[in-house]
């Protein structure tokens, strides 16, 4: 089974978020770039499929600038991916999913797969648009929010669950498909020390930015003009009370009169 996992470098969770000087974007100075949690799950899922289907290959692919792209790809190799691909792209693509689709379609054409896997959304911009936008562009079936993926080689089918308003749905999609993953069966594994050392010596296949064709053009312009932090939460106002009854009544009163969210 050939699996391509698309991953995206995101600032590590502990990053102190700051707007840039022009107030339009995240200040990425000194930011450490890592795999996001959903991408870690996608890698875990791909490795589980690889272990369940002998002779499988897992290629991690990202797009973006250096060095963050290589850093996350090395992390994927250390986790057990068999190869890595990097589509060079500028750091600040406009917030238009079609531009990402264009970059990743290059990779999908160069490295055909039985499954194109992604995290269901990135942990920074959290748009969740990419899986279906990419599936439509590749002309293959797509689904997002999948849980616990399995591959039936005899029927060439992928099966998974996902939750919807209707309940828990069980799906089967023919391969190849594009799937956005919510969670694998396991918690994502950690890389072993020996594999981290080995991953440093593995090659990363690069698709230079110049190879990206200008066409097909997309219509319209998207532009991020502000990045801001919410006013800091100052911590809860604690309700003082002598007896539980008093706490209950005081809470009802503040929800109704002050917060105005009482139904």
């Amino acid at each position: 089974m050939r699996i391509v996992v698309f991953v995206k470098p995101v600032p590590e969770a502990e990053t102190r978020l700051r707007p840039s000087a022009d107030g339009a974007r995240l200040d990425t100075d000194g930011v450490k770039w890592v795999l996001s949690g959903y991408d870690e799950s996608a890698i875990e899922q791909a490795l589980l499929l690889k272990e369940a289907n002998a002779g499988s290959e897992v290629r991690a692919v990202t797009y973006g600038p250096s060095p963050r792209s290589e850093e996350v790809l090395r992390a994927c190799l250390a986790l057990g991916c068999t190869s890595a691909g990097w589509v060079e792209a500028p750091a600040d693509l406009p917030p238009d999913v079609r531009l990402k689709v264009r970059a990743l379609r290059q990779a999908a054409v160069r490295w055909p797969a039985d499954l194109y896997l992604l995290g269901q959304q990135s942990l920074d911009t959290e748009s969740g648009l990419l899986p279906l936008a990419l599936a439509m562009a590749l002309g293959v079936p797509g689904a997002n929010g999948a849980l616990d993926l399995a591959f039936d080689a005899a029927r060439n089918e992928l099966s998974f669950e996902r939750s919807s308003e209707a309940g828990v749905e069980e799906w089967r999609l023919p391969s190849p498909s594009v799937i956005g993953l919510k969670q694998a069966k396991n918690d994502p594994r950690s890389a072993k020390l020996q594999n981290i050392l080995k991953s440093r010596k593995m090659p990363i296949d690069r698709i230079p930015a110049v190879e990206l064709p200008a066409a097909p053009e997309v219509t319209g312009n998207a532009n991020r003009f502000r990045f801001e932090l919410p006013p800091p939460r100052t911590g809860a106002r604690l309700i003082e009370y002598a007896a539980p009854d008093e706490a209950a009544e005081k809470l009802v009163r503040v929800l109704r009169e002050e917060a105005k969210v009482f139904p």
Partner: protein
């Protein structure tokens, strides 16, 4: 190294250890300290990820890291919990005598099982009657047929109740002092081996420490490391290798204390402003940061010297002594900055002081280290 920058490989090793320390160790540190508890699940995970047998060369299945790489990892682990780190690196200490004194056959026999499966080993040198005076070992290795029978008691042995293998130092004749000592590999399963009960310790409470009794334990000659009488130099060379990581361990404690204190000083207000704006606090923080940085660089420099194959005794003793004294002082300052809260177990800094204390004592007390430093130093003037 002269420019003190790390390679990408080293940065990624450090990153990995940092992540492990913060996600697997730190969240359990307070609980394991309080209970106390030996968190075997943490040690198993550390083993799975290759963090346990750092000094075992890759040809035997280990990580085969340089001394500097080991120090980078140990500092990060100690930041998460010094006690757990002591248990995680105990295998390095216990297996080093095999690396230094073992034949190729012995290395192939003893080392790969530790890399193929989770097993702990313990280094058995110290005895109740003589800690720092290693030449005064009284555990006897009586010749018996081709081999030996070991009888005696070792104490303060890290991981002893959980270990499956011991490297034991015993004498064929106490009269011979240093020259009578030999090193042996003894499996836990050998008849006559009895680890004692866990000791109640001041710090490093997530680690396990006990006595080990040997009563007429049969050891074949094939399990002796080196020639008869080689034990003392093997022990000393082992400690030369593992002393520098203790400096790194102390640096990790000190860095944690500094981080806690600095963050607290920004949050805590007195006299209408954060205490970080009071000069008395600033001076303390500056001294703490200076000590942390000096500890780290001394450790790196000692490790780099060892990695170049140069004699490391002087540098590693200096690094261990300075870093452990610094860790105690920095943890002390961190408590002082926290005031009354720092003395409370609810806050993490008092544990750091208790943990730091041991680094001044174990793997050669700082008094012994100073004797070593002075001796090495004076050789140059003689």
């Amino acid at each position: 190294m002269p420019d003190f920058s790390l390679t990408e490989e080293q940065s990624s090793l450090r990153e990995m250890a940092r992540k492990f320390a913060r996600t697997e160790m730190a969240p359990k540190a307070a609980e394991c300290d309080r209970t106390p508890r030996f968190p075997e699940e943490v040690y198993r995970k550390a083993w799975e990820l290759g963090l346990m047998n750092l000094n075992v060369p890759a040809e035997y299945g280990g990580s085969g890291l340089s001394a500097l790489d080991q120090c980078l990892i140990v500092e990060e682990l100690a930041y998460g919990c010094a006690g757990m780190t002591t248990s995680i690196i105990a295998n390095c200490l216990a297996l080093e005598p095999i690396l230094l004194g073992g034949t190729e056959e012995q290395k192939r026999r003893f080392l790969p099982p530790f890399c193929a499966e989770y097993h702990l080993a313990s280094f058995c040198l110290t005895e109740p009657a003589g800690g720092s005076d290693a030449g005064a070992i009284s555990t006897r290795a009586k010749r018996h047929g081709d081999g030996y029978r070991l009888t005696g008691e070792k104490c303060f042995i890290t991981n002893a109740p959980h270990a499956s293998l011991y490297t034991v130092f015993a004498t064929v004749d106490p009269e011979l002092r240093h020259k009578g000592i030999s090193a042996f590999v003894v499996p836990r399963s050998a008849p006559g081996v009895t680890p004692g009960k866990d000791e109640e310790k001041m710090g490093h409470r997530a680690s396990s420490t006990s006595t080990v009794r040997f009563e007429e334990v049969e050891v074949p000659p094939s399990d002796r490391l080196g020639a008869e009488g080689d034990g003392f130099p093997i022990a000393m060379r082992t400690l030369d290798q593992t002393r520098t990581p203790i400096g790194a361990l102390a640096t990790g404690i000190a860095q944690a204390a500094l981080d806690h204190a600095a963050a607290y000083s920004l949050k805590r207000h007195t006299f209408g402003k954060p205490i970080s704006e009071h000069q008395a606090i600033q001076v303390k923080l500056a001294d703490m940061a200076t000590r942390v940085q000096a500890s780290r660089l001394l450790t790196w420099s000692a490790a780099a010297r060892i990695d170049r194959g140069e004699p490391g005794t002087l540098d590693s003793s200096i690094a261990k002594t300075f870093a452990s004294d610094a860790a105690f002082a920095v943890a002390d300052d961190a408590i002082q900055i926290h005031g009354g809260y720092g003395y409370m177990k609810e806050y993490p800094v008092e544990k750091l002081l208790r943990d730091a204390k041991l680094t001044q004592i174990y793997e050669g007390s700082n008094e012994i280290q100073r004797i070593v430093i002075a001796r090495e130093l004076l050789k140059r003037y003689a």
